[in-house]
């Protein structure tokens, strides 16, 4: 029977949670790298035992860890993230120019085919690639030096490149998202980039329809339909049917369309999940109720999923990288909260149960299916 492994990054270390295909009984391993912030751990689709972890702290900076045995052992690899060429300036919160300054890696996205190739999304926003298992990192400079770069500005969490989607069909196409610049796409392996934000409207910027400046929180895609993208923006849930060429709002009947994660069901490309959050000034679920919302129509119509989730006195958030799916026949859905709970559903979201309740604040969750 297949097994499932969850890779959980928290404010104070990493944890792995494993179960068999029934996903009823879970073993918790960790903390690994205790005391460090683990923004993200991710596994190679080509070799699930190859894991990469972003380990960082305000004191000691950025470390990248690699495991070749599914997290049994780890080794620090390269941490030299240098901006190539002229560093340039972006806008600071107060609207004044400020030089790019590396702070941390938010997201690691291994290649779909090569375990040694992995992409890293940085704060301040830049995209890096390693082709030697994380030893050396090279910036894909054309993104940061896009002509709009001087107009990018940080979101509340920093000016972070937090989403990287490698197109499953076209190896030269990559989607990224940056808070608060927006979404970008390359069709030539990173040589050139174009903003893909047409149709986004953001009341928090002077020109609501600007080409850049939107606080995109997350993008999601189903691999069978790579031209369809879903987006959770600062406010608004959006959909594109032309690879980001244009967007339309699909918030529909959600109780609030502010939130962070958005994911697509493993086998139903029009089944989408979000976790509505009260507002940009109240980063917790509305009404004290932890509700995942599911749309089975590709947006607009949403259904609350509450069975097994706390429906009173709950005031947690679910961060953008903290929701994942597995690819078993009955699709598993998982998410971690800022309160340290990791919840799982083995039936596509119909019912939920806590896997572990008292971890440090959860920053990221990834799911792997193991043979």
């Amino acid at each position: 029977m297949s097994r499932v492994r969850l890779l959980v990054g928290t404010r104070k270390g990493a944890f792995t949670l494993t179960a068999d295909g029934t996903r009823r009984d879970w073993q918790v391993s960790g903390p690994h790298f205790g005391g460090w912030e683990i923004y993200h751990i991710n596994g190679s689709p080509a070799d699930p035992d190859r894991l990469y972890a972003s380990q960082s702290s305000s004191w000691f900076g950025q470390v990248i860890q690699r495991s070749d045995d599914g997290g049994q052992s780890w080794q620090p690899v390269g941490n030299d993230f240098t901006y190539t060429g002229e560093v340039g300036e972006h806008l600071w919160y107060d609207g004044t120019p400020r030089p790019w300054e590396f702070k941390r890696i938010w997201h690691l996205e291994p290649s779909r085919t090569d375990p040694d190739t992995v992409y890293a999304g940085a704060e301040d926003a830049a995209l890096y690639r390693s082709t030697d298992g994380g030893q050396k990192w090279k910036e894909l400079t054309a993104l940061r030096t896009h002509e709009s770069g001087p107009r990018w500005q940080p979101g509340a969490g920093g000016m972070c490149l937090h989403t990287i989607i490698l197109d499953p069909v076209d190896p030269d196409r990559i989607f990224v998202a940056i808070s608060a610049a927006g979404a970008f796409r390359t069709d030539d392996g990173g040589a050139t980039w174009q903003p893909i934000n047409r149709g986004l409207r953001s009341a928090q910027i002077p020109d609501e329809d600007a080409e850049v400046g939107h606080c995109v929180h997350r993008l999601a895609m189903h691999p069978s339909r790579p031209e369809v993208l879903f987006m959770q923006k600062h406010w608004d849930v959006m959909r594109s049917d032309d690879a980001g060429g244009s967007w339309r709002e699909i918030s529909g009947d959600l109780p609030t369309d502010f939130g962070f994660p958005i994911i697509v069901h493993a086998h139903e490309p029009d089944t989408v999940y979000v976790v509505p959050i009260t507002s940009d000034s109240e980063h917790y679920v509305p009404d004290g109720k932890l509700r995942v919302y599911r749309s089975r129509s590709g947006g607009d119509e949403w259904q609350p999923l509450t069975t097994g989730l706390p429906q009173a006195n709950c005031y947690v958030n679910v961060l953008r990288d903290a929701m994942a799916i597995d690819t078993l026949e009955d699709c598993g859905i998982y998410f971690g909260t800022t309160g340290g709970q990791v919840y799982g559903s083995a039936d596509g979201g119909d019912s939920w149960a806590p896997i572990v309740r008292d971890l440090p604040a959860v920053l990221s969750v990834e799911a792997q299916v193991l043979p």
């Binding site: 790298f33 205790g34 305000s58 004191w59 000691f60 900076g61 941490n79």
Partner: protein, 98 residues
């Protein structure tokens, strides 16, 4: 023999237990001690000093002989008792949040 005490997080990262001893020929300075540490433990590069500028990271402090040497120029000789191994050179994570 120069004795260096690293903070627990960096000891864990470098898989070190206890103090580290390094040999330095010539003047014993902060820069040369840290160069020797990073040479032996490459995973510590960037964790004490910025990789690009070589500057001490803001939340890292250097103490020795009950003195704060954090803002001494990196090429200033360290105290004689550090150079002789009588006292350790302390790399410390600043007391700030966490």
């Amino acid at each position: 023999m120069i004795r260096v005490v690293l903070p627990p997080h960096l000891r864990n990262l470098a898989q070190i237990s206890g103090e580290v001893s390094v040999d330095i020929s010539g003047a014993v300075t902060q820069r040369r001690v840290l160069d020797a540490i990073e040479e032996r433990y490459p995973m510590l590069r960037g964790t004490i000093r910025d990789r690009g500028t070589g500057q001490r990271r803001a939340y890292v402090r250097f103490f020795a002989c009950a003195e704060d040497l954090s803002n001494e120029p990196p090429d200033t000789p360290l105290p004689a008792r550090v150079a002789t191994g009588e006292e350790p050179f302390l790399v410390v994570g600043a007391m700030a949040g966490g």
